[in-house]
């Protein structure tokens, strides 16, 4: 990591880390009477720890200039490991909160073990920790391969990866302490949000700078998606988190929005977080790793285009379907529903494009669990997007809203689509990234596949059942016109499904642990004697003539 930096770059890194440490110190002092102070100490420790680490390597020999002729994969390697660590944390806490719903006494009267504090640790842990690290790690890999250019500099990829993980740690530790601005998937407070903006701008700059230096005439579709992901998430994050802190020494802030405007802004953000974080980014992943693994050309370039622009344009309007039958004006709900219905077309076009790409390679899907992960992801993507458009229809939503059906839908997407495409992509690059001939155990990949699939199916079926039962129980009237069931009756009816859900989640978690073990063992395998990775290098300047 540090050995790859020149002395001048090491000094720059020390400057950045020192500044971070000073910001942490300022937070610790300014927020000494507030929970902000604890976060100050964490930031200070991160800055100081990094500063010392770089300082110790300051006088190490200069790296060879040769390295600039290769792709810069060290950040991807670290990112892949962080992805798996966050997977275990996020899914572990997910299993815990699922168990809490079935056995609510398991909080043991400890505030930070309560459902309300643990639940965002799960959601942020899997979305931002697991998903975000996977996106950053794979985007650096895909970006370099599809542009045949090395990342633009040596420090900024580390700044993005490590800075992003600092954000995740601040977020998760804040939830446990009770710090939240109570916006779903946007819980972190103002200072964490500002930090993420800084990290994100650098991330976008890396993308633009690398693309500007590309040696390929065209920009591959995976990069359109990764760029849409980075750009739109920046817009969403900034707008939804506009808030005024009560003082610079306090973690608490107040949102700029209130009432129904706040709800609309939040769900414009929330739905597009699903669209551009959990969909666009992972479509980028799919468009590179699936055809690569299958050894097949993309089925249709034209379908790629219409689905990209369809998804990008249509999703922006769909957020209001989260607020059907609320104080939100009816006309906004109608538009949300109308766009959500049309959205199914580009979504299915993407899923179809992926599955049709596998034509001619289905025998590989049968034999190779890695490719099967990705094929299954495309199937779940198709199922989930159909379900999403269906649930966005107002009449359907009147049954599904506020029920576990929503949770089932989210997890069909999160487990079936996002996690499966991530694990597939991860397995397909881990050997080459760590310069190993193969993954440690193909059998364990197979085990992981079946754990993941059965976990997802159990989870989703449990939540479908429980959601529909819940929805029906809430709207069943007696002959005399009163409600047949009390809310607590519906909770009692949910109990067996909550146990099933926790079990499904446990299987999925075991799968993630299997992956972590398999990857660690792969890294510990001896390196092959002949390094054939030499073929995997960026275009030399000499090859540029005639472009």
């Amino acid at each position: 990591m540090i050995a790859d930096l020149t002395r001048a770059e090491r000094l720059w890194a020390m400057l950045i880390l020192g500044a971070l440490g000073l910001i942490g110190l300022a937070m610790a002092i300014g927020g000494r009477n507030d929970l902000l102070g604890i976060h100050g100490w964490i930031v200070l420790a991160a800055g100081l720890g990094g500063f010392i680490a770089v300082m110790r390597g300051l006088d190490a020999p200069e790296p060879s200039a040769e390295r600039l002729n290769e792709y810069y994969d060290a950040p991807t390697r670290v990112g892949l490991i962080l992805t798996l660590l966050w997977a275990v944390v996020g899914m572990g806490v997910g299993f815990w909160v699922a168990a809490l719903l079935a056995w609510p006494d398991m909080t043991f009267d400890v505030p930070w073990l309560s459902f309300g504090r643990l639940r965002p640790v799960h959601t942020s842990g899997v979305i931002f920790g697991f998903g975000g690290n996977a996106l950053i790690a794979t985007s650096f890999h895909v970006l370099q391969r599809t542009t045949r250019a090395r990342l633009p500099d040596q420090i900024s990829p580390w700044f993005v990866l490590l800075g992003y993980n600092l954000f995740c740690i601040i977020a998760a530790s804040g939830y446990l302490m009770g710090l939240t601005q109570s916006k779903e998937y946007a819980e972190p407070e103002w200072y964490a949000d500002i930090w993420l903006v800084v990290v994100w701008v650098v991330y976008f700059a890396i993308y633009m700078r690398t693309l500007a230096r590309r040696k390929e005439p065209h920009i591959y579709v995976a990069n359109w998606y990764y760029m849409a992901f980075i750009l739109v998430v920046a817009i969403l994050h900034i707008v939804n988190n506009l808030a005024v802190p009560i003082s610079l020494g306090s973690a608490k802030s107040y949102s700029l929005f209130s009432g129904v405007q706040d709800a609309m802004t939040q769900w414009w953000y929330g739905h597009n977080a699903v669209a551009f974080f959990l969909t666009a980014g992972f479509l980028g992943m799919m468009y590179y790793y699936l055809p690569k693994r299958a050894g097949r050309p993309i089925f249709s370039y034209r379908m790629s285009i219409i689905s990209f622009w369809g998804i990008t344009f249509m999703y922006m309007w769909a957020g209001s379907h989260h607020l059907h039958y609320t104080a939100l004006p009816h006309w906004v709900q109608t538009l949300g529903m109308a766009f959500s219905v049309v959205l199914l077309v580009p979504s299915w076009a993407s899923a179809g494009n992926a599955l049709l790409t596998l034509n001619g390679a289905w025998h590989k899907v049968r034999d190779d669990a890695v490719l099967r992960f990705m094929a299954l992801a495309a199937i779940f993507y198709g199922i989930t997007t159909f379900e999403g458009s269906f649930m966005a229809i107002r009449a359907v939503n009147s049954l599904s809203h506020y029920t576990d059906w929503t949770i089932g839908h989210v997890h069909a997407g999160a487990l079936g689509w996002v996690a499966m495409i991530t694990f597939g992509s991860l397995y397909s690059i881990v050997p080459s990234m760590f310069r190993r001939e193969r993954i440690y155990s193909q059998k364990l990949v197979e085990v992981h596949f079946w754990l993941a699939l059965s976990g997802t199916v159990i989870y989703v079926f449990a939540m479908w059942n429980s959601g529909v039962i819940q929805g029906l129980m809430w709207r069943t009237y007696t002959e005399s016109g009163g409600l047949t069931y009390s809310f607590i009756d519906s909770l009692v009816a949910m109990h067996p499904y909550y146990i099933a859900r926790a079990f499904g989640g446990l299987l999925f978690l075991l799968g993630a642990l299997t992956a972590l073990y398999n990857v660690v063992m792969t890294i510990r395998m001896p390196a092959p004697a002949a390094d054939d990775a030499a073929l995997d290098i960026p275009a030399k300047p000499a090859l540029q003539a005639g472009e």
């Binding site: 391969r145 045949r148 050309p297 219905v341 016109g481 009163g482 009390s486």
Partner: protein, 294 residues
């Protein structure tokens, strides 16, 4: 790089000539099915926006050809439901408790509607079976603390106990230990005495002098509210200490905790949240549970 356009053997399509690290793309036309799907979905959605309130303008929005509005719709369906229920709610409102209790058909509705009403409003404290949870009294088999005639029960629900209504019922057991009203020895003695009220068999294992002293402490400090015979008083909402029903537990440690720290449980004042009809319905429901038990 000027790409080489090839023909793919599997699909028969040609590539676009682009290549990224070995990934190529076919120039397959967008399938007709997809166009048909896109056109159908678009027609549906556009039609929907024409029928429903949809496109915004500067000072308002297009109201849709069907003239549907969710606020109107919800107001209307709430009104309709109320009208539908009026056949029996009007009788609940107007008739007295005895008349309603005598009418089997009406009581069937009370049982049906009351169960959901109780589950949503009362079960969280009193339990789904209304038999109490630690700190909250059993409503089915235990004697009531404020009286069990229908008017009194309805009043208890309306104003609550130690609630927010200005007319709320007020009851507090003093913290005899914490507030230094009784010495430790006095507390131990009175706790022993109270234990024997509901469990006379315990007296055999206790010191007779202590029990006698406990009785004196009780007479001087407790009888004012709980009564000379410790059977409680409904006009002060004090519980009977001689029976087997304990809101806060009848074991020695619980009784001692009650005497030392006092008790002042809360029941919300429901008048702001439940309509008079609902309060009357819940009263009938709870009394019916009691009647079936006795």
């Amino acid at each position: 790089m000027a790409g080489l356009i090839e023909r793919d053997k599997v699909s028969g399509q040609t590539t676009t000539g682009h290549e990224w690290n070995g990934i190529k793309e076919l120039n397959t036309p967008v399938p007709r099915l997809l166009w048909a799907f896109l056109i159908t979905a678009t027609i549906f959605s556009v039609t929907w926006t024409v029928l429903m309130p949809s496109w915004p303008g500067i000072n308002g929005y297009f109201r849709g050809l069907l003239g549907v509005d969710q606020r109107v719709a919800v107001t209307q369906s709430v009104t309709e439901a109320a009208v539908e229920r009026e056949s029996w709610t009007s009788r609940i409102d107007s008739e007295d408790f005895a008349a309603i209790q005598a009418d089997d058909a009406l009581m069937a509705i009370v049982r049906e509607t009351g169960a959901a009403l109780f589950g949503d409003n009362c079960a969280a404290c009193h339990g789904t079976n209304a038999r109490g949870t630690p700190g909250f009294p059993n409503l089915v088999t235990a004697p009531t603390m404020w009286g069990d005639d229908p008017e009194t029960v309805a009043e208890t629900i309306r104003v609550g106990i130690n609630g927010t209504s200005p007319e709320t019922r007020y009851a507090q057991m003093l913290a005899f230990g914490r507030d230094h009203m009784l010495e430790r020895a006095d507390i131990d003695a009175v706790v022993s005495y109270v234990e024997t009220l509901s469990q006379p068999e315990l007296a055999a294992g206790m010191d007779a002098d202590t029990l006698a002293y406990g009785g004196e402490v009780f007479a001087a400090n407790c009888a004012g509210c709980h009564g000379e015979d410790a059977r409680g008083m409904t006009d002060t909402g004090t519980p009977n200490l001689t029976d087997q029903y304990w809101t806060y537990g009848g074991d020695r440690a619980s009784i001692r905790h009650s005497v030392y720290h006092g008790r002042a449980g809360t029941m919300p004042s429901w008048e702001g949240r439940l309509s008079p009809t609902h309060i009357k319905l819940l009263t009938l429901y709870v009394l019916d549970l009691r009647a079936n038990e006795q």
